[in-house]
Amino acid sequence: MILEFMRDDHRVCDHLYTDAENALAAKNTDEAKRLFGEFYRATNRHFDMEERELFVTFEKRTGMVGGPTQMMRYEHEQLRAQLEAMQEALNDDKYDDFFGIGESMMIMLQQHNMKEEQMLYPMIDSALEGDAQLMIQTLKEMA
């Protein structure tokens, strides 16, 4: 089901961010930069999967354009801006800024994930019905 697949992907991203944060807290800056890069790519890939495939298909099936999927797209926009700001702070060795922005990014990301996992993904599962597995295959191929 979409809910399980996408929820697992959320958790993968969470773990990657945590690894980066832990590495930076341990002053292992090179490792932190590498891990943050992985998190950055994984999160953007997740947003792309949603925006290019999942949301588009859901909107076509239900006719719900400008509803929850549009809301999620705008939140992606906000989160992408934060990821850029964190990347910049890390590149400039401004580690306090990285942790400060990271805290708000994490809360915002988790609120966003909660909305998707509790409302949107179950709605998508219900709209896709038997085609969920096919969609998961498509999303995997995007990875």
């Binding site: 969470d14 773990h15 832990n22 807290a25 942790f99 805290e103 708000s104 915002m108 994930n113 509790q118």
Partner: protein, 427 residues
């Protein structure tokens, strides 16, 4: 770093939540004042001063924070935002605050008419709150947190009804044969149903996601609210029919809450996110205090010891305060940052500059010392006065932190350049 207002449209204006949060230290200071001045009376169960302090604490501090958080959480956890949040929060907050002042004064100064005012204002504000939010929790996708929120709101509704009944008894100084049953139902619903269920429901989301832990077990998530609801219903039936073995239902409640303590501590200890954060300290302290509360209550069931009864109530209150302070330390800076950045201000401060970590650590130290003093105050009431001084300092610091965050919010709005936007800002 801005959007076109959609995300902001779903969240209530920041003033909605801050109205409730800023009231918390005011009632906190009043509560602390009672601890300092009347330590002996407060340690006597059912003493009017004790009842005044208990209601200032559980309504003015705990419920005030929880209602404010509900306005914020509803759109995230409940899926649908609360309609007209500015007007509705103003009505609820005003009625609730005035009603609480009336109730605390009624107990403290033996003002019988004030009980009527309290019953009307507190009762109507809470019933209005429940009828506003509860329908929003039905009709969409259901999940465990939503079930917990439904139980919490239904419990709050019944708590308010029983509370209003008791307030009218106090106003008439006429207590029927069922008064004790009503009183027990009132506090059982408030503590296990309203406070316990809502904290557990929120923890299911917050602990796993903010601290990157494993998820709570499906079996526990599926059954915890059923067990709390069933235990409370049966306990109330048993109370009103005066049936024996009523303590069995308290054991069930204690068992699910102990399960919550154990599963939460296991998750927090194995959390993946290791960066130092004072909210973790508040969560651990909260779980420790809940453990003490449950053990004290179980011992009380078998011994009827007044000391155990007082310790159980005191540590349950401190458990809920600990969780709330920990959450507030995160929520308030986040809200300030979120609303400013969503309104397009380019020089939005980062969270760690809104309430610095050292301020939150000071808050935790004051909480820990004051709580410890309160818990050992059975040795001598002077310790409760000292605890009151500690809580007074803690709530003063909380007020300072909150006001500093609001001032920074206003300062950024007046000084920071702003992206041109095609939506009107909210604040």
């Amino acid at each position: 770093m801005f959007n076109r207002g959609l995300s902001l449209d779903q969240a209530p204006p920041i003033s909605v939540v801050l109205r409730f949060f800023l009231s918390v230290p005011i009632f906190g200071v009043l509560f602390s004042f009672l601890l300092i001045v009347y330590p002996t009376d407060i340690l006597i169960p059912n003493h009017p001063t004790s009842l005044s302090a208990i209601h200032l604490f559980f309504l003015g501090i705990i419920s005030m924070s929880m209602i404010g958080s509900l306005f914020q959480m509803q759109s995230v956890l409940g899926g649908k935002p609360i309609p007209s949040p500015l007007g509705n929060s103003l009505i609820i907050h005003t009625f609730f605050s005035v009603g609480l002042i009336a109730l605390a004064s009624a107990f403290l100064f033996h003002l019988l008419a004030a009980f009527v005012i309290a019953a009307v204002l507190l009762g109507s504000s809470l019933i209005y709150l429940v009828q506003l939010i509860l329908p929003l929790l039905f009709g969409g996708v259901t999940h465990d947190t939503l079930r917990g929120m439904r139980l919490a709101l239904l419990s709050l509704l019944l708590t308010a009804v029983f509370g209003a009944v008791m307030a009218s008894s106090f106003a008439n100084e006429s207590f029927g044969t069922l008064h004790e049953a009503v009183r027990t139902a009132h506090y059982s619903l408030a503590l296990a149903g309203w406070i316990g269920a809502l904290i557990i429901a929120v923890a299911f989301q917050v602990v796993e996601m903010f601290y990157v832990t494993t998820a709570y077990g499906n079996w526990y998530k599926r059954n915890v609210f059923r067990t709390i609801a069933l235990s409370l219903i049966l306990k109330i039936v048993w109370l009103f029919l005066a049936l024996p073995y009523i303590w069995v239902f308290d054991l069930f409640l204690a068992a699910v809450l102990l399960g919550f303590v154990v599963t939460t501590v296991i998750r927090l200890r194995a959390r993946k996110r290791r960066v130092s954060d004072v909210s973790i300290g508040f969560w651990y302290a909260g779980m420790g205090l809940l453990f003490v509360s449950l053990i004290s209550h179980i011992v009380y069931l078998y011994t009827a010891s007044a000391l155990c009864e007082t310790t159980a109530l005191l540590s349950f209150g401190l458990f809920s305060l600990s969780i709330i302070l920990g959450m507030m330390a995160k929520i308030v800076p986040f809200l300030v940052w979120f609303h400013l950045s969503s309104q397009g201000y380019l020089q939005t401060p980062i969270m760690s500059n809104i309430i610095p970590a050292k301020q939150n650590k000071r808050l935790f130290v004051l909480f820990a010392i004051s709580s410890l003093l309160a818990l050992i105050s059975f040795l001598t009431p002077i310790l409760l006065s000292l605890s009151g001084i500690g809580f007074f300092a803690m709530f003063a610091l909380l007020a300072y932190n909150l006001i500093a965050a609001v001032r920074l919010y206003r300062h950024t709005q007046t000084t920071s350049p702003r992206m041109s936007m095609d939506f009107s800002s909210q604040s």
